[in-house]
Symmetry: C2
Subunit: 388 residues, 2 copies
């Protein structure tokens, strides 16, 4: 039995997700936005029966059992924690909230309600090319240990010229290429290799500070470029270049995993490999085409395809259980959970710190909420030092 | 009147260069290698009338007026300085010698004999795609200042499986991807933008330490991977990934220059661009094909094409002047000179230091040879500290 869906947010990903959900038999019951006008417009466009700007109005709906949190990151923790408390399943957009503090709140709530699904929308985990890549590694396709992972993502500007100033332009609100694309990369590496980052070095930059509708006193602070290196537990080096600064280019991604005797590389949605001194061979070609209206989205095809597969996994998790909102674990067991989301926040935060201090930074995953009094006295101490 | 040529070295670049020189009307008079057997074999293969393992035997030949120094880097400074002293023109392979100390010796000699040609073999400066890129920048194609330069070079292993241990496997002897490919990248950026690096950060790695014929007590120390960032004088960020670790892949290069309103990108030997919110357009397509035997070389096509154009520029410099070894400056005025070679060594050395210290490192171009006594006492001091 499929659960009814409540959606938070009205951005491009919502407009892609809703048709995919319907294709998989899910019913969309309610939509929320911060402004009632925005909620109403999107509800009309997507033919959703109920719209609101009050969080509880969605969470308390009897027919809503699965919540998609796709609104700006500053709302993620509040909505997710509340929804779990009310007994609703959650899929939250990446990265989980604005910071480790947000992510840790979500982790604690998720641990408190282990019978509820609590996932992060890292749809790359469901892209067939990456699933085949993970399998090839497990089957020792490379023949020797991984040495190097080289990742490159090139995309046009992350918001369109017609956009006005919103969270996507603002670094502190969770916008920018490090949060929106880097989070996928960091999660993907752990998904594929089973390894986590020990130390990182990064350069995070905002090259373009103005757009057609964003100028004057408001300027863009969200980074449009970052490159970072990560050292994984097993001495694997990861190097990543994310460029959202070259406007007008189409989305391109390449993820290459090397050993001394071979390599595996995902280009777009296809997987290639080379081992035992042979030539590069095709391992998986993604020939499946996306259907209208999903194909017309500004979202990269690989994200959308991953999302399709993730929704279909959710269907597999709910459908076989007759009990309302009951589910089985297996179909969604490889999805990113809130703990994965916390780890990703820890890495992103270390990369930002590295870019500021020009040092390599150790990745420290938060396990306890920082004491507010301690935080305050640290600020006071720092102020005292800078005055004296 | 074209000068007679003396060649030092017997590697792949020599086997490409000699036919190119002959096609341009140059006569190869003599060849040198460290072992007489090697010199004899190559002389026979390339039909060069005179071979030797004595440096002076080439330099003192009356018919030799232009020297190509293409032997291992530890010989560069000695041969170049001596050749200039005897009054011969020089083209020396990149990077200039093993270190800034070597390069500075060459600079001083070049300054002492300004009537002689003294160039570094940075053949990318002669590749049409990069010449068109430089021109497009000058014509303000981008519409706003350069913000970011993103460079990626992927090549197979820099030596073949049949090779035995030689300088190319050895870091301290000048082998590895940072020296052999990185030097071109560092020089190219200055050629195209007119800007120099102020500060660098790099990770330099030797992932593959053994090959079929290189194992046991001898192992490869020359890096097969490096990524580095450079901050240029005008706040331009350069990020570079050089991967010679993925054996079996074909040589690929991409050099992308971005501004907030457009970009220019060289892929292989072709130039593309985008400006004023238009689509990416072709600016220059390299359709010229290389002739046998040059086309069959293991050298990347773009290197070889640049070399062809450089030799043809040398022909233009010498041919119009009737006087023996006389020349005009204009055709070779954009080539890299020994000062450029010294700057490149300074950057490479800063990148290596950054990789060791895990810090950003300021680029310091050497202007005076370090005092040997000072060096010695520094070593003594350091030893004393580590003992105490």
């Amino acid at each position: 039995m499929l659960p009814g869906i409540g959606v938070f947010g009205t951005g491009p990903v919502v407009k892609v997700l809703v048709p995919i959900l319907r294709e998989n038999g899910f019913k969309i019951e309610a939509i929320w936005s911060r402004t009632i006008q925005d909620a109403q417009e999107t509800a009309k466009e997507l033919a959703i029966p109920f719209f609101t700007n009050k969080i509880d109005d969605v969470l308390l709906q009897k027919d809503v059992d699965l919540i998609f949190v796709l609104c700006p990151p500053n709302w993620h923790a509040q909505i997710s924690v509340k929804a779990l408390g009310i007994g609703k399943h959650i899929v939250c957009d990446k990265p989980a909230g604005l910071s480790q503090t947000d992510a840790l709140k979500m982790v604690k709530a998720g641990q408190y309600y282990p019978t509820l699904i609590s996932l992060i929308n890292h749809s790359f985990r469901f892209l067939p090319a990456f699933i085949h890549m993970k399998k090839a590694l497990k089957d020792n396709y490379l023949g020797s240990p991984i040495t190097l992972i080289d990742i490159r993502v090139q995309s046009g500007c992350l918001f369109s010229d017609s956009d006005t100033f919103d969270w996507k332009c603002d670094d502190t609100m969770g916008g920018g290429t490090l949060n929106l694309i880097g989070s996928h990369v960091v999660d993907l590496i752990t998904y594929i290799t089973g390894q986590k980052a020990v130390r990182v070095h990064g350069v995070v930059k905002t090259f373009t500070k103005n757009a057609e509708n964003i100028n004057g006193i408001r300027s863009i602070s969200a980074p449009d470029f970052c490159c970072f290196q990560m050292e994984l537990q097993n001495d694997i080096l990861v190097t990543t270049t994310l460029n959202s600064h070259t406007a007008g280019t189409t989305f391109q991604q390449e993820v290459m995993i090397c050993s001394s005797t071979g390599h595996l590389v995902v280009r777009g949605g296809d997987l290639f490999g080379r081992h035992n001194k042979g030539n590069e061979e095709v391992i998986y070609l993604d020939v499946e085409d996306l259907q209208y209206p999903v194909a017309n989205s500004i979202l990269p095809k690989t994200f959308t395809k991953g999302l399709c597969k993730m929704v279909s996994a959710l269907r597999e998790a709910f459908l076989p259980v007759n009990e309302k909102a009951g589910w089985i674990k297996e179909p969604v067991c490889s999805a990113a959970n809130f703990e994965d989301g916390l780890y990703v926040q820890a890495v992103l935060s270390a990369i930002r710190q590295s870019s500021q201090t020009r040092q390599w930074v150790k990745v420290d995953v938060m396990t306890e909420q920082p004491d507010q009094n301690e935080l305050l006295s640290a600020v006071v101490r720092r102020t005292a030092i800078s005055i004296s």
